[in-house]
Amino acid sequence: MKLAILGVGNVGKTVAQLSGEYGHSVVAMADSKNAIVNPKGIDVGVALEQKSNQMPLGDASLEDVFDSNYDALIEATPTTLKSAEPAFSHIKMALEADRHVVLANKGPAAERFEELQSIADGSKGTLRFEATVGGAIPILSTIEDINPKTVTSVKGILNGTSNFILTRMAAKNLSYSHVLSEAQELGVAEADPIFDVGGIDTALKCVIISNILSGGGFRLSDAEVEGIQHISNHALNLADKSGLTIRLIGEATREGVNVAPVLVPKTEDLAVEGTQNIVRIVTEHGGILSLAGSGAGGGPTASAIFLDLQRLIV
């Protein structure tokens, strides 16, 4: 497929770099300031080298990207809340032009799900957003395949940053602030970590899942959210003596979304360590399915985007 990529951060860049390996070409690419378009395919290496040297990607405009001969738009701009702009407008423009859209940006699917579905219903293009939840773990595709109507709930760990912090605090008896600083130095946590440690990122993913289970109706503001900022190493030690640990667990059902720290038996599958993610999909007829893997980062998120693109081809 011919791809147009909006957003050249970690995810957008990785999709561009791996697109040839998956049989796709990149015909347009834009960051927040500049764009490059080539109907015959962009030399991704050269374009990314330009960007890494603080040079413009190219001399094209965002309008040129939408006028290009792309088959699928990859929306990988930074997640924004409430209006979910400019991502929402990007998706709308592509779908109204009957092109496919693959989302990595959580904002539109969490905050404006019904509007997106309505626009997608009137388009010959298809909207997919596997990469918005759980990185490389095919959570949404699995729910889609087994039929969302037969899924009772989805519960698990959907934020690698908070899981890394809790794991390390427990393993080394270190304070929250100490491990947060380490995580920031390692690039596991953002300079402003509230999105991850405050449970917002997990909540957005759960809102998307609840929207899928119930056909829409949920926003981030509907979610009950508690983060891990108040978790202490003495609490983790105490839990450890009882064979338990603490994990930030999100749960999505048709009734709503809950995100909070929870006591988890250390022997349970939910007690994954480090930046790993895991979900339990509870089904009406198939029992409980557990899926685990890398929940974030360029490679894992790009692999989810390629999974969506593969489904568009099939």
Partner: protein, 151 residues
Amino acid sequence: MLEPISSSGGNLLSIFHERGDITPRGEIPVEIDLECSPDQFESILSTYSDLDIHVTQTGEELYEGELIVLLIGDAISNNLSSVIASIDASGSVAVIESSVNRSIESPTEASSILRLAIKEGDQIQAVDSVRSIVSGYDLHFMTTTDNGVPQ
């Protein structure tokens, strides 16, 4: 005197000698609080009878489940007994066991794990009840994943 309880597999919770209420025959009544199954209870009563110890009154409260909660906050350091008394007074749950861990750097910061017995009824209701009680002490509350909701 407590051997019949332990040998039957019961769990002694408390023992209280009512020294201010000595019987006309000069005996000191003893109130024992314990947890055990109905069969164990019959065995304990039978053993006391064999030992010629008079059990004058028994009462029972049925607890069907167990709940583990972890609390974090200053009230653990300065008001834990009040927290436990409030939970016990709720009537729906009873505190069986508590353990406390304090911060080395800041001793006022502490956490506690409570093992609670739940009376017959809805476990989720018991969770909500305890959560509501401890929020009055400004404590962070969490419980295990098997309580249906992740809080």
